[in-house]
């Protein structure tokens, strides 16, 4: 055992720093015992207690710094003393100035007077409370969280309505406010078309198509999927229409929703009727008459909604590239499919994209099954087993319970895709790939190996497997739209130019005997 002593005369450190240094010194490898302390009587007493007090230390003055190290060998003592010297040297460059972190909406709102919006995505059990706090602080709210009760939704929306605030959501994935996409959204051009959407991917699709047709967006207000239910009564869609009507930059308004409750549709259309601006109404699977009676512009598909909006906003319809269906391609695919390859299997990340393709298929076929079918007979009893034409919204709670959304984690969809690809009755598998803010950084890339594998397997079995892909995104989006499309095409995937065309192509590919 070896002990080394260093005494630095007239060297002052305060006791707390020295305690901290001592603690670190005792952690140096090989050190049996280390003491770094000023030469006070009390510290000498401590040294005596641990058997380290030498005459040299006894003689140290209050203003002297004592360093004592005990270790197994002289070498270990020496290296420890060097390490201790390092401890005294200042750890250079402290971190950059800390950004002030707030813990509550109240404190953040009080300290950031320019804050005007809260984006809330906490667990549903806590979400309504946070949304209420935001509204109390005069913040508009984008409530991404799901699992918020309908009673809470009504209370929040009524409160927001009284205060003249936006209350988007719950379960609202998409909004573009002041040209800033919130949560999931695409980079679309600024323009003169305002959107109020009760459907996330439906709103994304229409905004992207408007961009594609040369138009642009003022605001995209997401209301959350239940806004047009009987109970909620369309509070936010009605407020949204009013705000867009008052917005000088907005020339045309587009409304998007799954079919509303009849009483709510009546209220919404009454407001459409009194609205001074043209309103395009795209209620998926909805009927034309009521919309026309209200003086609205009816759209049967998302693409039609976008075309009508850009034309009403000033575009010359004759100059639009409407991306008509490619009939020679349809013939070509039909020729490749064997007679037993009769069915479409749609595997979707986007709920509204699924809905649109499904409704287009239902126009033509009876046996269209889905986990989100309204008709009870055609709602899948077992979502893990496809039947005839099957369209799956894999972002629905059935699939995401306890798992991330397929836009973020694609593993469930990959597994299901490989299953469907083995089925000899399948003619076409339709899949969406959603780009933009909030989405996976390479949605095509993660699916590609499975596509290549399935294609090869089908070829081995002497069967053509038609895979139809739709990439939802603009030329301004990340990841790059063209690169994503090219990767799919290189793997032999057919590309649809819109959600509408994806649905139409799929249903036509498998049409028999025409």
């Amino acid at each position: 055992m070896s002990t080394k002593v260093v005494i630095k005369q007239s060297t002052y450190f305060d006791s707390v720093s020295l305690m901290s240094l001592s603690t670190k010194a005792n952690q140096i490898e090989g050190v049996e015992q280390a003491v770094i302390a000023m030469g006070t009587d009390m510290n000498k007493e401590v040294l005596k207690n641990v058997g380290l007090l030498t005459p040299e230390l006894e003689a140290a003055k209050t203003s002297d710094l004592m360093i004592v190290v005990k270790a197994a060998t002289d070498e270990l003592c020496e290296s420890a003393l060097i390490a201790i010297e390092e401890l005294f040297k200042k750890k250079g460059g402290s971190k950059s100035a800390t950004e002030i972190k707030y813990s509550t909406i109240d404190s953040a709102a009080a300290s950031i007077p320019e804050a005007n919006l809260a984006v809330i995505s906490v667990n549903g059990a806590f979400a309504a409370r946070e949304a209420r706090k935001a509204l109390e602080n005069d913040l508009h709210v984008m409530l991404f969280s799901d699992n918020v009760s309908i009673e809470e939704e009504i209370a929040l929306k009524q409160f927001a309505h009284e205060k003249g605030l936006l209350m988007m959501g719950p379960d609202c994935g998409t909004a573009i406010i002041g040209n800033v996409a919130l949560c999931f959204g695409n980079a679309v051009r600024k323009g003169n078309i305002g959107i109020v959407g009760a459907s996330g991917t439906g709103s994304q699709e229409v905004s992207v198509r408007i961009h594609d047709f040369g138009g642009g967006i003022t605001q995209l207000i997401g209301t959350g999927g239940r806004d047009l239910s009987e109970q909620v009564g369309g509070i936010m869609m009605l407020d949204g229409i009013k705000a867009l009507e008052e917005d000088e930059a907005t020339k045309v308004i587009v409304l998007i929703s799954k079919p509303p409750a009849p009483s709510v549709q009546e209220k919404v259309l009454a407001q459409v009727k009194s609205c001074k601006k043209p309103v395009v109404v795209y209620f998926i699977g909805g009927e034309e008459t009521a919309v026309l009676e209200a003086g609205g512009h009816f759209a049967k598909t998302s693409k039609e909604a976008a075309i009508k909006a850009v034309v009403l906003a000033g575009a010359n319809e004759d100059e639009l590239n409407k991306r008509a269906l490619n009939w020679p391609l349809i013939e070509e695919v039909r020729a490749k499919l064997s007679p037993e390859q009769k069915y479409i299997r749609g595997l979707f990340c986007g709920g509204t994209l699924c809905d649109e393709a499904m409704y287009l298929a239902m126009d033509k076929y009876e046996d269209v099954y889905s986990n989100i079918q309204k008709k009870a007979d055609y709602k899948l009893k077992n979502i893990h087993e496809s039947k005839a034409h099957t369209f799956l919204d894999m972002g629905d709670d059935d699939f995401t319970n306890g798992k991330p959304h397929p836009m973020i984690d694609p593993s469930t969809r990959i597994a299901r895709f490989l299953e469907e690809a083995k089925d000899p009755s399948v003619g076409v598998i339709l899949m969406d790939f959603i780009l933009g803010f909030g989405s996976h950084e390479d949605p095509v890339g993660v699916m590609l190996p499975a596509i290549i594998e399935a294609k090869a397997q089908a070829a081995k079995e002497g069967r053509h497997l038609e895979i139809l892909g739709y990439v939802l995104g603009t030329d301004l989006d990340t990841p790059n739209f063209d690169e994503q499309v090219k990767k799919l095409m290189d793997a032999g995937v057919t590309i649809a130019s819109s959600s509408t065309n994806a649905g139409l192509l799929a249903r036509e590919f498998v049409a028999k005997g025409e």
Partner: protein, 475 residues
């Protein structure tokens, strides 16, 4: 223009709660976003969330806001003055020859931790109630001694807080509200009673404090009249103390103020020299003084109906207790005392340390100590090592406090006031606990101080308080 249309035309500044990349995406689009450091309120416990909801009912919230405003005003406007020194038996309410006051919430002899037992037996010997420590243990267990929390006698006590009849006390009077607070004299830093040591040297020092130091300070203050402690505290913070663990500046200021009057007393030159040497032997001399100052201000804010402001945080080495203004009197809410994490004297290891102990958390309750770490960069070693971390502690405490005290400011934070008025609702809402910097006593009796560091109260105490307060207020 409607609020929605203002939003359309303004620049987005979002507050993001939840998934962090939503904030990043907003910033990528050249808008502003601030991400909250959010935790589920009440740790996600439904009964606590329900309680918070009940307290947020507009009518209830208004009552609480008014009560808390009053409580915080009283803390801030209190002007505690040092007006004298005297023996506990002469001044402390309810003190008897066989009373021993202790730190923290109520505790019985059999449940006391090592340090407190050591201090109690030392005090019994010091008072002549037993001839030695062994006999003192029997006396303590016999029921002949009345044990009571300092806080229930207008007192505070450092560490074990053990206070007996003949010990000399600071007498601190609230010039604004008239209430009085008391605390013991500092034994300085060594093997000392308040840390649980009780050998002959400890008793000898206590005798000298009773016979020389105490009387000299008493006589000096008779001449001095009064000393404005709040003013002195503010100065000490500007000189780099946080007045719980670092008292270098405060001690200099205090002894500087006392010296002329000490010189005028009738004690001998040798005795005066002993006193000055004793004060110089450690920087802790003014430590208890600030505790009494804080106690004096906080007592003025205790017992305001509907207030959710914390007026006491104290620990007895076993339990941590808090008192809340709206729950008048001696209603304690407790949870287990925690470990103190920090550097230790050579030769000691974390397993040697006793649990958090002492009434000194009264300083944090007032807004100094751990709450004012940004004022004391010299002792950042306690909080992990960097000045930035020390600043972080002071700014974070604003999340759970109601006001900033304009009378006590921190230069490094642009002279903003110390975070003042801990609101139990905010503690439960944010999950942020008050930070306390404190000394570490050995777990066994008779040894004393072995380090210093950081600790927190148990959340349990605040949870219990919130539930009780909710029942009381929202009726």
């Amino acid at each position: 223009m409607s609020k929605i249309n203002e939003l359309f035309n303004g620049k987005i500044h979002a507050i993001n709660v939840g998934i962090e990349f939503f904030k990043d995406d907003i910033i990528k689009q050249n808008a502003n976003a601030s991400h909250l450091d959010w935790k589920p309120p009440g740790g996600g416990k439904p009964e606590l969330i329900k309680a918070l909801d009940r307290l947020e009912n507009a009518a209830v919230a208004e009552k609480i806001a008014a009560a808390n405003k009053l409580a915080v005003e009283r803390i801030i406007n209190s002007q505690p003055m040092l007006v004298g020194f005297d023996q506990a038996i002469n001044v402390v309410p309810g003190m008897t020859k066989t009373t021993i006051l202790h730190a923290g919430p109520p505790i019985t002899w059999d449940k006391m931790c090592g340090a407190m037992k050591g201090a109690v037996t030392g005090a019994i010997v010091f008072e002549g109630l037993a001839k030695d420590i062994e006999e003192a243990e029997q006396v303590a267990a016999s029921g002949a001694i009345t044990f009571s929390p300092c806080h229930e006698h207008n007192c505070v006590g450092s560490m074990a807080g053990v206070t007996s009849a003949s010990m000399f006390m600071h007498v601190v009077k609230n010039k604004t509200y008239g209430n009085i607070a008391y605390t013991n004299l500092s034994e300085q830093m060594a093997k000392i009673l308040r840390m649980g040591a009780n050998d002959e040297s400890v008793i000898a020092r206590l005798n000298w404090m009773r016979d020389v130091l105490g009387p000299m300070l008493r006589d000096a203050m008779k001449i001095a009249g009064e000393i404005d402690l709040r003013l002195m505290l503010a100065q000490a913070l500007h000189m780099g103390d946080e007045c719980h663990n670092r008292n270098n500046a405060g001690t200099s200021l205090l002894i500087q103020a006392l010296t002329p009057y000490i010189l005028e007393t009738d004690f001998t030159k040798e005795q005066k020299r002993e006193v000055f040497e004793f004060v110089a032997s450690s920087d802790y001399f003014s430590g208890p003084t600030w505790m009494a100052m804080c106690k004096c201000a906080l007592d003025a804010a205790h017992g305001i109906e509907n207030s959710t402001i914390v007026t006491t945080m104290a620990r007895n080495g076993v339990e941590f207790g808090i008192r809340v203004s709206g729950m008048a009197g001696n209603t304690w809410f407790t949870g287990p005392a925690q470990k103190v994490i920090g550097p230790m004297f050579a030769g000691y290891k974390p397993e040697d340390s006793g649990l958090d102990i002492g009434d000194s958390a009264i300083t944090e309750t007032y807004g100094i100590g751990g709450f004012a770490m940004a004022a004391a960069p010299a002792i950042v070693a306690l909080v992990g090592g960097t000045v930035e971390e020390a600043i972080g502690f002071s700014t974070t405490m604003k999340e759970i406090t109601t006001a900033e005290n304009p009378n006590v400011t921190i230069p490094l934070l642009d002279f903003s006031g110390v975070p003042t008025g801990i609101d139990i609702r905010q503690v439960i809402q944010t999950g942020i606990l008050p930070i306390i910097n404190t000394a570490i006593a050995h777990k066994d009796a008779g040894i004393g101080m072995i380090g210093a560091g950081i600790t927190y109260p148990p959340m349990e105490a605040f949870e219990k308080a919130l539930l009780a307060v909710t029942e009381t207020i929202s009726q």
